[in-house]
């Protein structure tokens, strides 16, 4: 945490307190504003990046504050995506393909916003039930339990033909999510994550991350604050899933499995697992690397001839770049710090910087 700690907090102005959030929101808005002038391909890439940003911020809210690595959030994304699609897909198609849906979903068609809200809500509800059971597990046991949850979601959603159309996938989800819609939700996710981490619960949860025993003995209900973070972050992931479904227009359960889990966790680790700035940085940097490699793979004209990397070098390149970043910056590109306040003199800033938790 580079949040001004207690002695400074009293003096710190409101602006300074919310500086990291403002800086990140401004950065994202600037990128979207510039990008929206670009090509159609650019818009698509940017929308996908913003949706990933929402997922990663959601995952950060739980992992970064609690210190428990969760593999389960892509499962919540899956739940949110399907729930929202159940609401917005054409009823005629639902009656034909999704015969197991309850009547209120099967017979009706709902708007985009209620559908997204429903997706987030269902994900949060599942998180509440699952979290009540598993939030007392710490460390690797907790991680594997969330992983088991991901596998359960994948198994259920790929095989429950009458509700999810199984392997033949849900088609005809309205394509309504563009860069500005995704931007609005991304800003919302940033605000929510920042508000949580400076709140009482966020600080208690961070205390339990740094020293669980000490936190417990200071009367922090570790399981309770973990559960709160888990549910909030699941809601964010569920909303992101709903957006992703309405961005792709088609849903398959395998979209939300190991590949997506890997990419999102890698973004968080590359940026720095312990700060909101890290989450945002990771998404931006990894997206940039992927796009760069994709361009190189497609071919770059150099001196009259087109030079291009062999097929598949994009994936290998991404793996190598990530391994390199981790080798040289094991605590992430931001070293898990927030954006520093720029108007402090150097000597004082050094005093204020607190070493990252791990």
């Amino acid at each position: 945490m580079t949040e001004p700690l207690v002695p400074h907090a009293a003096r710190a102005s409101l602006l300074r307190r919310y500086w990291p959030l403002l800086a990140l929101c401004a950065l994202i808005s600037a990128i979207v504003a510039v990008g929206s002038l670009g090509s159609e391909q650019m818009q698509v890439t940017m929308t996908e990046m913003l949706i990933r940003l929402i997922v990663v911020v959601g995952i950060y809210l739980f992992i970064g504050n609690s210190g428990i690595l969760s593999f389960g959030h892509i499962g919540f994304m899956c739940i949110g995506a399907y729930a929202a699609a159940w609401a917005t897909v054409d009823p005629a198609w639902k009656q034909m393909m999704l015969t197991g849906l309850p009547d209120f979903l099967q017979q009706n068609q709902y708007g985009f916003l209620p559908a997204v809200a429903g997706g987030g809500l269902l994900a949060g509800l599942v998180a509440l039930i699952l979290g009540t059971a598993i939030m007392r597990l710490s460390g690797i046991a907790g991680s594997i339990a969330t992983f088991a949850f991901l596998a359960i979601v994948n198994s259920v959603y790929s095989n429950w033909e009458s509700v999810t159309a199984g392997t033949s996938s849900i088609i005809g989800v309205p394509n309504v999510v563009g860069p500005w819609v995704a931007w609005a939700f991304a800003i919302g996710a940033l605000v929510l994550a920042f508000a949580f981490q400076v709140s009482r619960w966020g600080i208690m949860l961070r205390a339990s991350r740094d020293d669980e025993v000490a936190a417990k003995s200071s009367a922090i209900g570790v399981v309770k604050v973990r559960l709160i973070a888990f549910v909030v972050s699941a809601v964010i992931a569920g909303v992101a899933g709903a957006l992703y479904g309405h961005f792709l227009g088609i849903l398959t359960a395998d979209t939300f499995y190991l590949g997506m889990t890997f990419v999102t966790l890698a973004m968080l680790v590359v940026g720095g697992i312990g700060s909101l700035t890290g989450a945002v940085t990771g998404v931006l940097v990894v997206t940039l690397v992927v796009e760069l490699l994709r361009h190189l793979e497609a071919g770059v004209p150099i001196a009259g001839s087109t030079v291009h990397l062999p097929q598949g070098s994009q994936e290998i390149g991404l793996g190598i770049v990530m391994a390199l970043i981790m080798v040289f910056r094991p605590t992430g590109l931001t070293r898990s710090r927030e954006v520093p306040w720029p108007f402090t003199r150097r000597a004082r800033r050094r005093k204020m910087e607190v070493a990252p938790a791990r």
Partner: protein, 304 residues
């Protein structure tokens, strides 16, 4: 009754594979606190090394046609070298990194290996016929026991016995156990850290080779992601068995094998598609009852 016996044999054979894979994962976790996602890809490499690189659907055996006493050491060597290279390039610079960073790094290694296989051999699954003669069933009473399953179980037992002897009776084995107990203390007492970790990677490579040969001869198909489900079940096995305990890894492997086979056999037909969902629900239940696994280890108990 005969059905039950038959299922038990299947469970023991599948459990053996999971136990072997879990041993490889558990060994590295014990010493390095690394949850190695790339272990599944070490297994895939062992299988792909047997065939001629091509995009054909039917795999042409290459090293696979050699007689077993030449083939097994060659394949083992290849897998061990890959394991050691991944240690040297990625994990050695990350010795002081946190557990999540290590885990994501192993994810990255896995990703690179999978794409590498994809580039050389193509994405489509391939059929390969390794050791076709081993399909002949033995009849024990009324129970049909494929010879291959017997070999799987026996090979697992032999490997486990060898590993136990190595860990308990040799100098290097003692070093490894000391490093698993308390890595820094072992270093103070003269155990060379990088050497022991390299050794652990090599042994996990040997175990991965055994899994890949046995698994390939049972299923007869290769795909770039073939090792992933094996590795996933191996993690689960290591965790429910007791992270950091090798006995725990073996016990966990067999538990997972039994659970999967029994669900497959006794779930009602319309629920059978959800077998994995039930298996993983069972995993969560075990974790809730015994968060530190079936076999508890002292090394994982956090001291205050």
């Amino acid at each position: 009754m005969i059905g039950l016996l038959q299922n038990l044999v299947d469970a023991a054979s599948l459990g053996s594979l999971y136990a072997l894979a879990a041993l490889g994962v558990g060994l590295l976790f014990g010493i390095l606190r690394l949850v190695n996602f790339a272990h599944g890809d070490f297994i895939s490499i062992g299988a792909y090394a047997l065939i001629v690189p091509s995009f054909e659907v039917t795999a042409q055996l290459f090293i696979g046609t050699w007689s077993w006493w030449l083939m097994i050491p060659t394949i083992t060597l290849i897998v061990v070298i890959v394991a050691l290279i991944s240690d040297a390039l990625v994990f050695r610079p990350l010795r002081r990194a946190s557990a999540p960073t290590l885990m994501i790094a192993s994810f990255a290694v896995s990703y690179v290996i999978q794409t590498g296989i994809l580039l050389v051999y193509g994405a489509r699954p391939k059929a390969a016929n390794l050791w076709a003669g081993l399909d002949t069933p033995l009849m024990v009473g009324d129970v049909r026991v494929p010879l291959l399953q017997v070999i799987t179980i026996v090979a697992t037992l032999v490997l486990m016995a060898a590993l136990t002897l190595f860990l308990k009776r040799t100098r290097y084995g003692t070093m490894m156990r000391a490093a698993a107990e308390d890595f820094r203390m072992a270093q103070y007492l003269g155990v060379r850290g990088d050497f022991v970790i390299g050794l652990a990677f090599a042994i996990s490579g040997v175990l991965a080779t055994a899994v890949s040969l046995l698994y390939l001869s049972q299923t007869g198909t290769l795909s770039p992601t073939m090792g992933v489900p094996l590795a996933l079940f191996a993690f689960v096995a290591t965790v429910i068995g007791g992270m950091g305990s090798l006995l725990g890894a073996v016990v966990g492997g067999f538990v997972v094998g039994v659970v999967v086979i029994m669900l497959q056999a006794y779930l009602p037909a319309d629920l059978r598609a959800f077998r994995d969902a039930f298996a993983f629900t069972f995993v969560i239940l075990i974790l809730l009852v015994r968060p530190s696994g079936i076999i508890r280890t002292r090394a994982l108990v956090e001291r205050v």
